[in-house]
Point group: C2
Chain length 244, copies 2
């Protein structure tokens, strides 16, 4: 009997993978990873050059990504079927050997693998290896402490309604806004209404090739990569920056 080992790969730079994830990936005989149809897959790209020659790969291709509205019944049904199938498939594979599942960031922090994790309970032995969350890669790239002292930090999804985003932006010291993509224009309006647009940074592909760090107010595009992150630093960092 094998195990299913879900490895958090961290924010994208392979040097930021954990020692354990690095070892599991290099020794893997079977690796599975999510990807959008027709794409190499973000997680697979991170481990390029690290896999053994004879590894067997199982790309788990999402049946839909942005073609259907995320709140439609059809979308939910298609995805549930997709996760059900892969839970069966991985359980079968794990009867014969270990299977390493590659996941960006930290699997337990808003990770897609969780849809498999809950389905695999009681069917296979599952081991999750923590990773540096994508947001931590981004705030390290921005080069300022995201939060200090008794700063309150809030993590928000850009998919939330605009009024809720605005209210929560007003109500926190440090902010991390994820799932930006097509929500960028809405996020920008919420930050502006809350009087905090000038403090916000947009980090794209943090720690990876093509990394970009910009003040959000200077970004003219109305969308960006889904995994780009908007950051607002806590009080002490902002105070120091203002003093410089």
């Amino acid at each position: 009997m094998g195990r299913i080992i879900c490895c958090g790969l961290g924010p994208g730079n392979p040097d930021l993978m954990s020692v354990r994830a690095d070892r599991e990936v290099r020794h893997a005989t079977h690796v599975a990873y999510f990807r959008k149809k027709g794409r190499p897959g973000e997680a697979r790209t991170i481990v390029e050059g690290m896999l053994a020659d004879n590894v067997r790969e199982y790309p788990m291709e999402y049946p839909v990504t942005t073609e259907l509205a995320a709140d439609s019944g059809e979308y939910a049904e298609l995805l549930a079927g997709f996760y059900d199938e892969w839970a069966i498939r991985l359980t079968q594979l794990a009867r014969e050997s270990d299977v390493v599942v590659l996941c960006e960031g930290d699997p337990f922090f808003y990770g897609s693998f969780m849809h498999l994790y809950t389905r695999l309970q009681g069917r296979a032995e599952v081991d999750v290896v923590a990773g540096i969350p994508g947001m931590a890669g981004c705030w390290n790239v921005a080069g300022l402490p995201i939060a200090l002292g008794d700063d309150v930090m809030t993590v928000l999804m850009g998919t939330l309604p605009e009024a809720e985003l605005e209210r929560r932006v007003q109500n926190s010291d440090a902010l991390v806004i994820m799932k930006t993509g097509r929500n960028l224009a809405k996020i920008r309006r919420a930050l502006l209404s809350a009087g905090r647009l000038d403090e916000a940074w947009l980090i794209e592909r943090g720690t990876m090739p093509g990394e970009r760090v910009a003040r959000l107010r200077d970004v003219e595009r109305t969308d960006c990569a889904y995994f780009a992150i908007v950051l607002v630093h806590g009080r002490l960092s902002r105070r120091r920056e203002a003093a410089e």
Copy 2:
């Protein structure tokens, strides 16, 4: 000219250090780390057995920890002097060779190193290596996704006033409460008033020897280690747990 390389060591298990931090620590000729007087130091303990034989060590001993109230003028002055001195000392050391500074968790996330980081600007080349934040080690140990979907996650310090803790606990899906220690009784009261004590977990020494995971309602002690973390999982995780 050398550099000051601050390595985030992650939550405590050395296997969860990044590949880069592992390499920097093993090759270091000079290492510095914070510690409480008379203690080995949490960061130093994580790298036990990894340092080169001829490494030179610089324990940076806090002049005070809990002997004085954290909001007293005397405390602030003593700590400022301590950070000033070590910023000078590290700058001098870095003129001759690289100096690796060991830090638990992720340095940019509520890390003490930030007090040195700001003082070192313009005086020495400083490089910060991201680490898995302590909270991520803790929620991985708890074995449930801390947040999913559009859950809002809030990070709070146990040092905040009780009324503010209560209000913010009511207002968030997932919660991470750090700096617990002597604030544990207050945190418990705030969770109880907000009707969320039953959902809370206390994780002590997550990923390290002596690790403990308990429902906070079952913990009778009124204090715990300063670095213990209280977690409340987001909506989807709680719903699944309730269904089991």
